[in-house]
């Protein structure tokens, strides 16, 4: 008697999971940078879109104007170049796929985009990390980073509700 086995199909589409793969790469590269290339202390410092630009800007300002702005010990001698890599990497990808185009948006008003950049970095530096590094620190097992990750989710949900409320009023 033949038994019919249930068919198991793997429906994993690469294009539908590119963000997941990028996230996985971020976590793994952050760990590799810390463990094997001495991008520490502090821990989980492999990838961060707030402290890396901050260290780079402070390094440049210190070297040009002789100031003494705070830089993490590991980035004092050689500047951290991840932000430069992100911009060049994105530029190459956009150019290669014919998506590079100088255009407005997504924030409609130019001044508002500038203010957002100014405001967000000041708030983020109070915490000391971007959402990416927060997730990396959560994976490192730091309980406070897990709390902060939950805070970020709450912040986004409240912002969504505010936007919905604003749209309803219009």
């Amino acid at each position: 008697m033949k038994m019919k086995l249930p068919k198991i199909s793997y429906n994993f589409k690469l294009s539908a999971n590119l963000a997941l793969i990028t996230g996985l790469m971020m976590g793994i590269l952050a760990a590799a940078a810390q463990g094997f290339f001495e991008v520490q202390p502090p821990v989980g410092q492999g990838v961060c879109a707030i402290t890396h630009p901050s260290n780079l800007v402070n390094w440049l300002v210190n070297n040009i104007f002789g100031t003494e702005f705070t830089i993490h010990g590991i980035f004092v001698a050689v500047p951290v170049l991840t932000p430069v890599g992100w911009i060049i990497g994105s530029f190459i990808a956009a150019l290669k796929n014919k998506e590079f185009q100088i255009r407005r948006g997504p924030v409609r008003e130019n001044l508002l985009a500038f203010i957002f950049g100014f405001l967000i970095v000041n708030l983020a530096l109070l915490w000391g990390s971007c959402p990416i590094r927060t997730a990396v620190l959560a994976s490192y097992g730091w309980v406070f980073a897990i709390i902060i990750l939950a805070t970020i989710v709450i912040g986004v949900i409240l912002a969504c509700e505010y936007i919905k409320w604003k749209v309803r009023r219009m």
Partner: protein
């Protein structure tokens, strides 16, 4: 060495970030408003990738002091900074939703030629200098008091 390593990591993630439209903040927003999990999976991916990376590389001989930190609890010194940090993270999330993307995504948008990405990063640079000059002395004072 660190300069080269960080540049290579940046190039890889910059390329992948542009192709995948990766964004942590938009991931949460899309999942909450549209039940679209595409970008949200990216945030989950960081946590899973981190756990895999830290665990495997630790076995392979990498240097991960205290990993996993779970047993150490909140571990913030001085505790006076806890509400400030939570306020900062909340504000970052709230305004990043308004700015249509997390700080990483704004770097990617700059590379794509988006004007608001350019202006956002300009604001970020000025903001960093402002933080160093105005906010840091107050934080140092709080640290001493705490």
């Amino acid at each position: 060495m660190i300069g080269v390593v960080t540049l290579i990591i940046g190039l890889i993630l910059g390329y992948m970030g542009q192709r995948s439209r990766f964004c942590t903040i938009s991931g949460i927003r899309d999942f909450y408003l549209l039940r679209d999990a595409y970008r949200f999976k990216g945030l989950i991916g960081i946590v899973i990738g981190g756990i895999i990376g830290f665990s495997i590389f630790k076995v392979a001989g990498g240097e991960f002091p205290g990993f996993p930190l779970l047993s150490e609890g909140i571990n913030v010194e001085p505790p006076l900074l806890i509400p400030i940090m939570i306020f900062g993270a909340f504000g970052m999330a709230f305004f990043s939703t308004m700015a249509e993307g997390c700080p990483f995504r704004q770097h990617i948008m700059l590379g794509e030629g988006r004007l608001s990405g350019v202006l956002y990063i300009a604001g970020l640079v000025i903001g960093i200098i402002f933080f160093d000059i105005v906010i840091v002395p107050y934080l140092q004072l709080l640290t001493i008091v705490g």
